[in-house]
Amino acid sequence: MSDPDAFAALGTIHDAPGGPEAAVTGPGRTLAGDAWETLRSSWVFWGSLVLIAFFVVMAAFPGLFTHVDPASCQAARARVEPSSSAWFGYDVQGCDVYARTIYGARASIVVGTIATLTAMTLGSTVGIYAGFFGGLVDSLLSRLTDIFFAIPLLLGSIIILTSIPTPTGSAFFSILKVSLALAALGWTSTARVARSSVIQVKQADFVSASRALGASRTWMIRKHIVPNAIAPVIVITTISLGSFIGAEATLSYLGIGLQPPVISWGIAINDAAPYVRSTPHMLFFPALFLSLTVLAFISLGDVVREALDPKAM
């Protein structure tokens, strides 16, 4: 017969510190909760979040920031310096630089977002399958990843973007084309990170325990592998959002990215570049906004990575 006193003895040491309760600290605190505690007190976190929010609002509601129509351009005002009536001056076609910069946020951020989400989905799926199944599946998927990795971003984008014709005047199609082209070339780093993260998690005892219970592979991936492997993927996603925005600007600068009538920072920089010596204001302001956005996303990714790092817990 069992000894009830053994259990009772364990139960009576309740409230005194030093009892078994003492080791169980506070209400349920997830690892995400712990990360949140770190982030809450980080000024880098709040700073980059505020900046990102600022630009997202700008992209969604440009009318809040300016009443000027970015498309109303007057050749007579071309390349006029900033003044009190036009804070950022006028660009090469006489359009208000401030208005174009504000309106340009939308295209840049939308491209960045679509590209990132597509790359993350595609990359994670490839990485998770490669990492979890191993063997032949892993070999094939990894070689595929390597091939895409080897394609230089600019060369690949040029080929993709020039070979797919864009119906002129369609802003939506232009944005979609550029986003998907960037995603098609940029998913590989997410795949690699996801794969190595999954391989690491796969070896943990709790995965074996689940298998010993008779769990199916789908169950194990969903309940055990993905929640534990996702942290590095989140980090690289946040960082790559910034680089996708920058890549779009590069492509637009080269003239193969977004096309008019789409307004984006890259296009603005492209137009302003030949005049950088004489009238730098046309280039300076879009470039500044671009840099700040990229910086905000990369800083956020960096600080989230630090917070999710289990060693710091």
């Binding site: 017969m1 069992s2 000894d3 053994a6 259990f7 364990l10 139960g11 309740h14 078994p20 309760e21 080791a23 169980v24 600290t25 506070g26 209400p27 349920g28 605190r29 997830t30 690892l31 943990a204 005892d205 709790f206 074996s208 325990a209 689940s210 298998r211 010993a212 219970l213 008779g214 769990a215 169950w219 309940k223 055990h224 929640p227 534990n228 817990m313």
Partner: protein
């Protein structure tokens, strides 16, 4: 071939677990594109075991002896290279689908490391109820929450903590959570792979007592794997000693500990430090020379002969089999003192 009865205990009970000729070789492959097999790590090389209802079989051995591989084989995490495993009369090898799932309900495992055996992103409640979600027929959905709390209380945890996360518990408490998870499906056999090795001495005693109490209360059988001979002594009814993938001695715990027949068992027992300063230097301690041989390249004949002080020519030529000796079974040409 070894006889089917591996214990001197008279029994008319059906064995819960019957293992015959269990072999697991991990192939060593070499090659760039196409890998050829150049050898194998003979992790488990011919093990026979029986486990009866309500008893604890201790399995002791040092690192590389194959006891962890044995544990994984018995719980279905590894596929054997050869051999037969029957649980309650049903064959494990070749079981698929529903048959394999049924087997899982009868044999469960507790893992060594309390820090990696629980999913850090799941609450304790979710961890313990996972078995019910994978085997929906065992406990109806509306009764699961109550059953989880019951299990927590059974292993000495406060049921109020059902929504906490593993990192909020100590090592010993995490092991209890692992035990609760292992018991959820009411298995007949629980395989404990070094369950207390990672715990402090005072906590070890708590968990060992808990396992003993649960066994008496629930009538389950335990296979308790450890490298610490003192711990095994307190919990095991019978003990098997493993060396380099084989069982070299097996028998009733008192017999093996008081009158070991195999030289390796003698060396193991004498190596355990005696916690009494007055006896220092008085008990002749056998100190084995050198390192254990690699399981990929075991010695011919008796595998222990390279470190054995009694080794003769016959030991290199003929591989000794387990035979009855003074109340235990041991595989040695020159057994005894």
């Amino acid at each position: 071939m070894v006889s089917a009865e591996l214990t001197s205990k008279p029994t008319n009970q059906e064995a819960v677990l019957r293992v015959r000729g269990l072999v697991k070789h991990f192939p060593l492959r070499r090659g760039i594109l196409i890998k050829r097999q150049v050898g194998a790590v003979q992790a488990v090389d011919g093990v026979d075991l029986d486990v009866y209802p309500g008893e604890t079989l201790g399995v002791v051995g040092e690192s590389g002896c194959g006891k962890s591989t044995l544990a994984r084989l018995l719980v279905g995490l590894e596929v054997p290279t050869a051999g037969a495993v029957t649980v309650l009369g049903r064959d494990l090898i070749g079981a698929r689908g529903a048959g394999l799932k049924a087997f899982r309900r009868e044999v469960q495992m507790i893992f060594q490391d309390p820090y990696t055996s629980l999913n850090p992103r799941m609450t304790v409640g979710d961890i313990i109820s996972e078995p019910f979600e994978i085997h929906p027929g065992v406990v109806p959905k509306d009764k699961r929450s109550a059953r989880v709390r019951e299990l927590m209380a059974l292993v000495g945890l406060s049921p109020e903590h059902v929504d906490r996360y593993p990192h909020q518990f100590s090592g010993g408490q995490r092991q209890r959570i692992g035990i609760a998870r292992g018991l959820a499906l009411n298995p007949k056999l629980l395989i404990c792979d070094e369950p207390v090795s990672a715990l402090d001495v005072s906590v070890q005693a708590q968990v060992i007592n808990l396992l003993q109490d649960l066994q008496k209360q629930l009538g389950i059988s335990l296979i308790f794997i450890a490298h610490d001979l003192s711990v095994v002594r307190h919990i095991a009814d019978r003990v098997a000693v493993m060396y380099l993938g084989r069982v070299v001695e097996i028998g009733e715990q008192e017999m093996v500990y008081s009158n070991p027949q195999h030289p390796y068992t003698r060396a193991l027992l004498s190596a355990v430090p005696v916690p009494d300063p007055k006896l220092r230097g008085m008990l002749g301690q056998i100190v084995l020379e050198g390192d254990p041989p690699s399981p990929a390249d075991p010695p011919s004949g008796c595998r222990f002969r390279t470190r054995c002080w009694k080794a003769q020519d016959v030991c290199a030529e003929i591989d000794p089999q387990l035979r009855d000796l003074e109340g235990v079974k041991a595989a040695c040409h020159f057994p005894g003192a």
